[in-house]
């Protein structure tokens, strides 16, 4: 398929997942923020925005937090901005994505402006975004052939998901945010899954392990990295006796095995470092994929004049 289209699909996957992850994080933190003092709100906002890695606003108020994470259309760090960017990419790849997928993205984009931008409105907004992104994912899965185009979509989604779950976990690590494990698990939609898996015999302290390492829960970091790895293998199945030619696969695989084969003690002791590494790996893998599949580095351009 065309490199340009592949790139668009990869980014549709990333942006939709980013909107989903950001909504989850915002939703769960709003609950606490709402009742906090102005002083506390400022600390929490500052902390949260740093973890999300977004450009810092001029002042740290509840309003600026909502704007930066939910409503600003000009930045792809916000939910609205991500969904807008996903729609724009779909517009450029419209003949490749199924019409249902395009329509879902398009109507979502039109629906962005129909929410009150206060705290209560934002709860509803986050909930609405989760529904829409679920619908978008579902339509992509059920109306597109699982061919190369779909693999790029899936690849972008998995990488972004690993990154987002890592950030979710990072917000739990921050003292200031004071998020309980129960809320953390709810944020990832993993609460029931966790309880059923652990049968309530072990303590909540294993919740972090679950979100990081569970091989079956779809939003765990490990599982997301596995998914990304599978996509990369399917995209370039060439077999080599020794080593990897594919940088992205090497980066993702390395991160995955580091997580998989670290002891619980190692993980517990330096969780923030692991989380940071995950985010870094996702960024580097994304770069490697760009170089391999989408690069226009050697593109010819005509600069001469006609004599």
């Amino acid at each position: 398929m065309l490199s340009r289209i592949a790139e668009s699909l990869f980014w549709i996957g990333r942006y939709v997942e980013r909107a989903d992850g950001t909504s989850r994080i915002l939703d769960v933190h709003l609950e606490r923020l709402n009742g906090a003092s102005a002083q506390e709100q400022e600390t929490v906002t500052r902390e949260l925005l740093t973890i999300m890695g977004v450009p810092q606003p001029e002042e740290y108020t509840l309003g600026s937090l909502l704007n930066t994470l939910a409503y600003t259309r000009s930045s792809t760090h916000s939910v609205a901005g991500s969904l807008g960017a996903a729609r724009e990419n779909a517009r450029r790849a419209r003949e490749t994505v199924s019409s249902s997928l395009w329509e879902a993205l398009n109507t979502t984009w039109y629906g962005l402006g129909q929410h009150r931008r206060d705290v209560v409105g934002t709860y509803r907004f986050c909930h609405w975004v989760l529904e829409r992104t679920a619908m978008i994912r579902g339509l992509a899965d059920s109306t597109m052939s699982h061919d190369e185009a779909w693999l790029f979509l899936e690849l972008g989604r998995s990488l972004e998901r690993a990154d987002m779950t890592a950030r979710m976990l990072a917000t739990r690590e921050s003292e200031a945010l004071g998020l309980s494990w129960v809320n953390m698990l709810r944020c990832a939609g993993a609460y029931e899954s966790f309880l059923r898996t652990q049968r309530a015999t072990v303590g909540e302290e294993h919740a972090g392990e679950f979100l990081l390492l569970d091989r079956l829960f779809p939003r765990s970091v490990l599982r997301a990295l596995q998914d990304a790895e599978e996509c990369l293998m399917a995209l370039d199945p060439s077999y080599q006796r020794v080593g990897f030619m594919d940088d992205a696969r090497r980066i993702v695989g390395e991160m995955r095995s580091t997580l998989e084969y670290s002891t619980p003690d190692q993980l517990a002791a330096s969780l923030p470092i692991f989380l940071h590494q995950v985010q870094l790996s996702c960024a580097r893998a994304s770069e490697a994929i760009t170089n391999k599949y989408f690069s226009r580095g050697q593109e010819l351009s005509w600069v001469g004049e006609v004599s």
Binding site: M1, L2, S3, R4, I5, A6, E88, R91, R92, R94, E95, T96, S99, W102, E103, N106, T107, Y110, D147, E148, L235, Y293, R296, E299, L300, S301, W302, G304, E305, V306
Partner: protein, 535 residues
């Protein structure tokens, strides 16, 4: 037949009395034309609330599906009026033959212009007519494109004058657009007015993408077994981008931008995730000027350097061919009747609009005296660009126009103001007559010219306005060509005398109805192409 109209038609009869134009739905005396009966029957049942709700729902669907056009930098839903424009089977027969004839003449003319110019040698047109055309490109002189076709897709604009005669207003053989709206309008109308469309035999339009793909594949360079077809778009900011995505999607081929293509050793490749892949047929939706910085505008970033040389070498088919603009030059248009006789030995089936050539001194003199009652158009414009309607223009505008025409008479033609026919259109809470034109689309695969039944009907939404362009507040209508097998729906006793369309040569064979087998015959090709293009 006297009609008992709902309130929606209140005032329509009066409005018609004040109009000199031909009304498509009502004959003089407010008599309903037979082919409109099913439509009228459905509309009669509806209240204003019903009609408004349906119109809203259609426009909402367009917005959701992204069927939009750019209006002042904003995406607006494509404007579709709820009343269809109906074309009786007999009228369509004539139009279809006329359009097809027109395409064959234009094809022959272009082939001649870019080879021996016998049309000049034989004194049919002056040499200067061709060589002074802004779209005569010497870069493509002296070779016949791979596949031998130049006018793969054309849009022949026609209007119906006050006497009910269809006339060709202009030919579009460069990059005619609008066919996607024909497909989308039909889709929307089958949901917006299902009772009406279900009760009549309207000829379908959805086979267009299949026909187009088949024609494009057929015109591929001859040594290619399974040609790779792509659609070349200027990109997402082009106002017709929606159409490009729709056609590429429905044909199951790649939609490429200039930067996705690269030429090497006179062959064209596209950059894919698997490396470079050879391209055989390019359905070009870019203006010639921007196509190849080697030959045309060197500052173009939309084009592909070297693509014209690749076409000259016969390694790629560009559809429509480069240089076609010389044929839809409006001054060449004035010679179309002569060209028809010269190339085909036939008289034109659908006549031209009477036109003054302003480079001829006598004509120019007359036009200068009557500027305020004529329409003056630039010869190389399209989409109503630069056109001046005399009666609507201010004295200052007319003075400006006079100056322009006198500076460059070759650049202009003048025509009488035509009373375009009218169709009832929803405006201000009821139906009112509004002027329409029609752009039928034709596909030429080298052996046959196929005309899409109907075409794009554009309607001027402002009262009395003759400007139908969507960029200037125009809307559209679904165009229903009645099919002949449904003739039993029209008892002979009720058939009114149909308007006499200017017909020459009554010995044309009866148009055969579409055989379902023809369509099936096209299918396997389509599937192969999809398989081949999904890389």
């Amino acid at each position: 037949m006297l009609v008992h109209m709902s309130d929606l038609f209140a005032g329509y009869a009066e409005a018609l009395q004040g109009s000199r134009a031909w009304d498509e739905m009502f004959a003089p005396g407010f008599t309903l034309r037979t082919d409109y009966r099913p439509v009228e029957r459905v509309l009669e049942e509806l209240s204003l609330d019903d009609v408004t709700a349906r119109a809203d729902s259609m426009s909402r669907t367009f917005l959701d599906r992204g069927v939009t056009f750019d209006y002042a930098g904003e995406e607006r839903a494509w404007p579709l009026d709820i009343v269809p424009r109906v074309i009786p089977a007999d009228d369509w027969d004539v139009l279809e033959r006329g359009v097809s004839q027109r395409v064959r003449v234009l094809e022959a003319f272009l082939d001649d212009v870019y080879s021996t110019m016998s049309v000049v040698r034989d004194g049919v047109v002056p040499r200067a007519l061709i060589t002074t055309s802004a779209h005569f490109h010497r870069a493509v002189h002296g070779f016949r494109p791979a596949g031998g076709v130049r006018v793969h897709v054309s849009g022949i604009d026609v209007v119906r004058d006050a006497e009910g005669i269809f006339r060709v207003l202009e030919d579009n053989v460069r990059v005619p657009s609008g066919v996607s709206y024909v497909l989308e309008n039909r889709r929307a109308m089958s949901k917006g007015l299902p009772e009406a469309i279900g009760s009549v035999n309207v000829r379908p339009v959805e086979e267009y993408p299949r026909r187009l793909l088949a024609a494009l594949r057929k015109s591929a360079p001859s040594d290619i077994e399974d040609p790779v077809v792509v659609v070349l778009t200027p990109g997402v900011y082009n106002s017709a981008y929606f159409e490009h995505t729709l056609l590429a999607g429905m044909m199951g081929v790649e939609l490429v931008e200039g930067r996705d293509l690269v030429t090497r050793a006179n062959k064209v490749y596209m950059r894919t995730t698997d490396g470079e892949r050879r391209v055989d047929v390019i359905y070009k939706r870019i203006d010639d000027d921007f196509l190849d910085p080697l030959h045309f505008r060197s500052d173009s970033v939309l084009g592909v350097p070297g693509i014209v040389n690749a076409a000259r070498a016969g390694n790629v088919t560009i559809a429509n061919a480069v240089g076609n603009g010389v044929a839809d030059d409006k001054l060449v248009y004035t010679y179309m009747p002569d060209l028809t006789r010269y190339y085909l030995g036939e008289d034109p089936i659908v006549p031209n609009v009477d036109t003054f050539r302003l480079e001829e001194p006598e004509a120019r003199e007359e036009v200068m005296d009557r500027l305020d009652e004529l329409v003056v158009k630039p010869v190389d414009g399209s989409g109503g660009k630069g056109l001046v309607i005399g009666p609507d223009a201010s004295p200052a505008e007319l003075e400006e126009l006079r100056r322009k025409v006198l500076t460059e008479p070759r650049g202009w033609i003048a025509q009488p103001v035509l009373q375009l026919s009218t169709v009832p259109t929803l405006a201000g809470g009821r139906f009112a007559p509004r002027h329409v034109d029609l752009r039928p689309f034709a596909i030429n695969d080298g052996d046959d010219v196929w005309v899409l039944p109907g075409g794009l009907t554009r309607v001027a939404l402002k009262e009395g306005s003759l400007i139908v362009n969507s960029s200037q507040g125009g809307g559209s209508k679904d165009t229903w060509v009645m099919s002949r097998p449904g003739a039993e729906a029209r008892p002979a006793a009720l058939t009114e005398p149909e308007p006499q369309v200017h017909v020459v040569g009554d010995d044309w064979p009866e148009e055969l109805s579409q055989s379902p087998l023809d369509e099936i015959g096209l299918l396997p090709e389509q599937q192969q192409q999809q398989g081949g293009a999904s890389c």
